[in-house]
């Protein structure tokens, strides 16, 4: 079994970026200057993470306001609207309002990602950049549908959009895509939507060349729905074991080789985990999988920056035990 550290979605923003972004919002600096300085901040993050042996991850999505923006700008007939609570967190997002048939306009994030990829190459950092996108159930769960009257129909069009976006990203050299889907197994999700989402994930599996990671987190109410994704797709599935420790035996019984991502440090609390305790979890999977990615259970924007670095260091100390 091999083991590697990674993280998903947003990384906590430091004071430098916060004041830079506020200057940009006030029009005190141009978009170009904002991007240039953000680029340096992101490169700093990636450099620091690679010192902790993190060789694959996101750019911290600093230019994203939330999981939907700016990606939703790539969709026609979709507008960002009212602030909504992101599950039970004191964290809010602008929900997509769907006012007409969804279709793909153009890749909004490609320019930005291209810059980061070039800088990673220039600086010869060993780091695989993964792009972040909202998964099916998450999109259905938070979107305000004023057109389709049936979110499963809406998801069929969303599927086409995802295919095009993933292809655009592959065009600029991003082969790894993470689809965040905390809604897929949550208590409030209508079964029709989560089942449709699972079907679409399976179609996606057949239709894309890129490596797809499905990132699930927070409390699961329907873990069994994930079984077919684990068994029947090539996707790397990320499981939140911090909030769902009770599914452990069930998960173990499903595994027979392959790759799995395990969220084992709590990205919603500042309390630091002990490497020794985490090791007992990993040991259970030793004979069951070929490769494990270890990661925080969810994206790390719920904790302050310095705690996020400490949590990553704990993970990398754990992975070093398996060198």
């Amino acid at each position: 079994m091999s083991i590697e550290t990674t993280f998903y979605g947003g990384f906590p923003r430091g004071k430098n970026f916060i004041s830079l972004y506020s200057k940009f919002l006030k029009n005190d600096i141009s978009r170009e200057e904002f991007y240039k300085k953000t680029e340096a901040i992101v490169l700093g993050l990636i450099r620091k993470l690679s010192e902790y042996d993190v060789k694959i991850g996101t750019d911290g999505i600093f230019i994203w306001d939330d999981i939907f923006a700016p990606f939703s700008k790539a969709l026609s007939s979709v507008e960002a609207n009212g602030l909504y609570r992101f599950f039970d967190n004191n964290f809010y997002l602008r929900i997509p309002v769907v006012k007409g048939k969804i279709s793909y306009e153009k890749c909004i994030t490609c320019d930005w990602y291209r810059r980061i990829i070039n800088r990673i190459k220039e600086e010869r950092i060993e780091y695989t950049l993964r792009a972040v996108l909202p998964g099916y159930a998450l999109f259905a769960f938070y979107s305000d549908d004023k057109y389709y009257n049936d979110k499963t129909r809406m998801l069929r069009d969303y599927h086409k959009v995802l295919l095009e976006e993933i292809e655009s990203l592959r065009g600029i050299g991003i082969e790894d895509i993470e689809l965040h889907d905390p809604a897929l197994l949550c208590k409030e999700i209508p079964s029709k939507i989560s089942e449709k989402s699972i079907d679409l994930y399976k179609s996606l599996n057949k239709q894309v060349i890129s490596k797809v990671w499905v990132i699930t987190y927070f409390r699961y109410s329907y873990f069994d729905r994930l079984e077919s994704l684990i068994k029947d797709t090539n996707f790397i599935i990320h499981i939140d074991l911090v909030e769902n420790s009770s599914i452990m035996d069930n998960l173990l019984s499903l595994m027979d080789g392959g790759t799995l991502s395990l969220g084992i440090v709590d990205a919603r609390n500042t309390k630091l985990e002990k490497v020794r305790q985490l090791k007992t979890i990993i040991e259970k999977f030793r004979e069951k999988v070929d490769k494990i990615y270890i990661a925080p259970n969810t994206f790390m924007e719920f904790i302050p920056e310095r705690i996020a670095y400490r949590k990553v260091r704990i993970l990398s100390n754990l992975s070093r035990k398996y060198r």
């Binding site: 004191n90 964290f91 500042t270």
Partner: protein, 340 residues
């Protein structure tokens, strides 16, 4: 013991708590943080800001003013800084580019000294009104907006905080406060926790004789309304304008029977409501509750609005209330109620 009776106009007008800081105060705070200004100057500026805010409330005609929480940067941070056992690691994002210094509980919590008693005493001294509102962030909300590294679970943490908040309210009572509002905006967030949270909150209210209210906003009221009779406060101040007065029927559905602080001003919208539309909203609530049980207030704290707009919104709120008061007096109601 003889308790002095206080009278208020029917449909008393009040505020939820926070009010925009004057521009000059924000400037002074900024310079203080850079080390350019002495603490003595900052303290004087805070006092002067409270005097200015009280004047705004007085001009608007608010019956029960607050100090606009001028000294508080944030409603949880302010308390966490003053209770032993908390630690700050840095900001976490709430949305967009808005951040919050989320505290972490790293040790046994400890009541060190009165937290807001000085705020109250100064406010009372400069207030035009005998009754002022003091706001306290409730134990559940402090816990929900903090990291817990020390207590075995959230419930244990909320109980520890409840003990501390209880001591603080007792200190306020001793200092002469007549009306304390517990702010619990987090209460509706985790449905499965409400049941024990209500018991813990009541610990914070134990043995208090002065008037207690509770403010909740922007949540699912269905989760709270089944518990209102179990929470030992006489009034709930709730946001209604932002939800276009949609959930008023819920008050009937759950046979709501306590005093209501009725939110008629949307604090997330810069449009200034007219006195006529405010009167219209009040008439709606009066079709559900008797007028002696209704106070009039904005949805939530006004601090995110420009000061000029906040003041105009308060003024129109009072004007709208006065329109309805006239109708009530004509209909035979007393023009005053007893504050209890």
């Amino acid at each position: 013991m003889f308790m002095q009776e206080y009278y208020l106009p029917i449909l008393p007008t009040t505020v939820i708590g926070s009010y925009p800081r004057p521009r000059w105060l924000r400037d002074i705070i900024r310079r203080y943080k850079k080390g350019q200004i002495k603490e003595k100057v900052l303290k004087e500026a805070y006092n002067d800001a409270v005097i200015a805010v009280i004047k705004d409330h007085e001009i608007a005609g608010i019956d029960i003013p607050s100090d606009g929480e001028q000294r508080r940067d944030e409603m949880v941070e302010y308390f966490a800084e003053r209770i032993g056992g908390f630690k700050f690691y840095g900001p976490v994002r709430v949305w967009g580019n808005a951040f919050f210094n989320k505290p972490a509980v790293v040790d046994k919590l400890e009541y060190r000294e009165p937290i807001v008693v000085n705020e109250f005493s100064f406010l009372q001294k400069v207030s035009y009104s005998k009754i002022v509102k003091v706001t306290i962030t409730g134990p559940y909300t402090i816990a929900d907006w903090s990291f817990n590294e020390y207590y075995s679970d959230k419930e244990e943490l909320v109980y520890a905080l409840a003990e501390i908040i209880n001591r603080e309210i007792k200190e306020l009572e001793k200092a002469g406060a007549k009306y304390v509002q517990i702010d619990e905006p987090a209460l509706p967030t985790h449905e499965e926790e409400v049941e024990w949270a209500v018991k813990a909150i009541n610990k914070a209210l134990e043995g208090i004789k002065i008037k207690l209210g509770m403010h909740i906003c922007y949540g699912k009221y269905e989760r709270i309304l089944p518990y209102v009779d179990k929470i030992n406060v006489s009034q709930f101040a709730l946001e209604f304008a932002n939800r276009q007065f949609k959930d008023l029927e819920l008050l009937i559905e759950y046979s709501y029977n306590k005093e209501l602080g009725f939110g008629v001003i949307d604090v997330h919208n810069r449009r200034i409501e007219s006195p006529l539309e405010i009167a219209e909203a009040i008439r709606k609530v009066l079709s559900i509750l008797p007028p002696e049980k209704v106070y009039i207030n904005p949805d939530c704290g006004l601090k995110l609005l420009p000061r000029e707009i906040a003041r105009k919104k308060m003024e129109n709120m009072v004007l709208g209330t006065k329109l309805v008061r006239k109708e009530l007096v004509k209909a035979g109601f007393d023009d005053m109620i007893v504050f209890k």
